[in-house]
């Protein structure tokens, strides 16, 4: 760069050369809003453009009570969500009467399985919901496994603040190009999921 363009890098006004990330390190790629949706899938926008992608969960509310909110991945643009995964899962919990817990979620993890991975728990009372995020690193790599990290906070069981930490990797060297979110029963009644690229 040279001249006025170079001088304006990082400035608050005028003309600049667009940054390589397209206008800031975080770029909103897509937002989907649930409306009694059986699931929410992101089948585009996951490629080599960014080294990291982040899904933000905003007040996801299920139709059925005390269900598992879960995640799976695809290597064929969403035709199948069945990527092999090894994961860990632990949780910190506290209910409204003062009972707390902190433990590894035995049985809530996956060892080289292809099913959906628990990402949080949600109740269906009108004020119950789940918020949080899932980060996916370099999904387009055809060399390495694909690490992902999710942390969610939910209102569960009518009385629990439920903080869930789910982390693992897709044990594949194929590119991951789609991600699916659904509930273990019923639908995602409302809420939004936004996908960002971090450049």
């Amino acid at each position: 760069m040279s001249g006025i363009i170079a001088q304006n890098v990082g400035r608050h006004g005028g003309l600049i050369k667009a940054p390589s990330g397209g206008g800031g390190a975080w770029t909103l790629i897509q937002t989907q809003t649930a409306s009694a949706s059986a699931d929410i899938s992101f089948t585009s926008g996951l490629d080599s453009t960014y080294d990291e992608y982040c899904f933000k969960f905003i007040n996801l509310h299920p139709s059925d009570n005390d269900i598992v909110f879960q995640t799976n991945f695809s290597i064929d643009t969403g035709s199948n969500y069945n990527v092999t995964k090894t994961t860990t899962n632990f949780e910190a919990t506290h209910n409204e009467t003062g009972t707390s817990g902190f433990k590894y979620g035995t049985g809530d993890d996956i060892a080289e399985g292809t099913g959906s991975q628990r990402t949080g728990l949600i109740g269906s009372d009108n004020d119950e919901s789940l918020c949080g995020e899932l980060r996916l690193f370099a999904p387009s790599s055809t060399t390495f496994v694909k690490h992902f990290m999710a942390r969610t906070q939910s209102y569960y069981g009518g009385a629990y603040a439920w903080s869930n930490f789910m982390v693992g990797y897709c044990n594949t060297t194929s590119a991951v190009d789609a991600v699916n979110f659904d509930c273990s029963a019923g639908s995602i009644d409302s809420g939004t999921i936004s996908l960002y690229g971090i450049g």
């Binding site: 363009i5 304006n8 990082g10 400035r11 608050h12 006004g13 005028g14 003309l15 600049i16 050369k17 667009a18 940054p19 390589s20 990330g21 397209g22 206008g23 800031g24 390190a25 975080w26 770029t27 080294d51 990291e52 090894t86 994961t87 860990t88 899962n89 632990f90 902190f102 433990k103 590894y104 035995t106 993890d109 060892a111 080289e112 980060r135 690193f137 370099a138 790599s141 060399t143 390495f144 496994v145 690490h147 992902f148 990290m149 930490f165 982390v167 693992g168 990797y169 044990n171 060297t173 971090i198 450049g199």
Partner: protein, 207 residues
């Protein structure tokens, strides 16, 4: 905005109108790509790196870090003056683990924490394998490194595919127990080199 300028909003090339916050709250400062490097270092004022009072929060992103030597541990060191990465640190570390054979799971406090140590701090990537697909990815926050009043807190979350085929989700947090400014951070394995991967440094604005 109108015309070519509005058309280029959010685009990765061409001319755009500068954003009100000068391009977003997060600013990518520097990306280092490993190629059998003994270490990767981010030094304020060197090679276009900013690590000073410009930002109150700095974020390092680790993308598919791959070790050159079997069972190596990934570490970080902080420079508080001079040329050595030997700032005194006290840290805590815990991790969850699960192996691919489904025979081992757990959530435990780690023994490789530090008490007023000056060596490099293990930040995940424990016992990393060198199989072609094995790597670690994660994030480290460093708060207010330029402060000459307070200690410097940092927080790391890393997931690793280890040499024994474990998924290890590790949380490390602590502080550099110095009031001198931290002006450089170095990453390396405790043995061998960083064979491949990227480390990206971002600054986060507060105004």
């Amino acid at each position: 905005m109108s015309g070519i300028i509005s058309q280029n909003v959010g685009r990765p090339s061409g001319l755009v109108k500068a954003a009100a916050a000068a391009g977003g709250v997060w600013t990518l400062i520097k990306t280092l790509t490993a190629s059998a490097d003994s270490d990767l270092s981010f030094v304020d004022g060197t090679d276009d790196v900013t690590l000073d009072a410009t930002y109150p929060i700095y974020v390092f992103k680790f993308i598919n870090i791959h070790a050159g030597t079997h069972a190596a541990d990934f570490t970080a060191g902080f420079r508080d003056g001079g040329s050595a990465y030997d700032a005194t640190k006290t840290t805590s570390t815990f991790y969850a683990y699960h192996n691919e054979g489904d025979s081992a799971t757990g959530l435990t406090y780690a023994s490789h924490d530090m008490v007023q140590g000056t060596g490099f701090c293990q930040i995940g990537g424990d016992a990393m394998g060198t199989d072609n697909d094995q790597c670690c990815s994660g994030t480290m926050f460093l708060f207010n490194p330029s402060s000459t009043t307070f200690v410097k807190h940092f927080m790391v979350n890393m997931n690793t595919l280890t040499e024994a085929d474990y998924s290890v989700n590790e949380y490390t947090a602590g502080y550099c127990n110095v009031t001198a400014a931290i002006d450089a951070v170095q990453f390396k394995f405790d043995t061998g080199n960083i064979d491949a991967g990227k480390i990206k440094l971002y600054g986060i604005k507060d105004s």
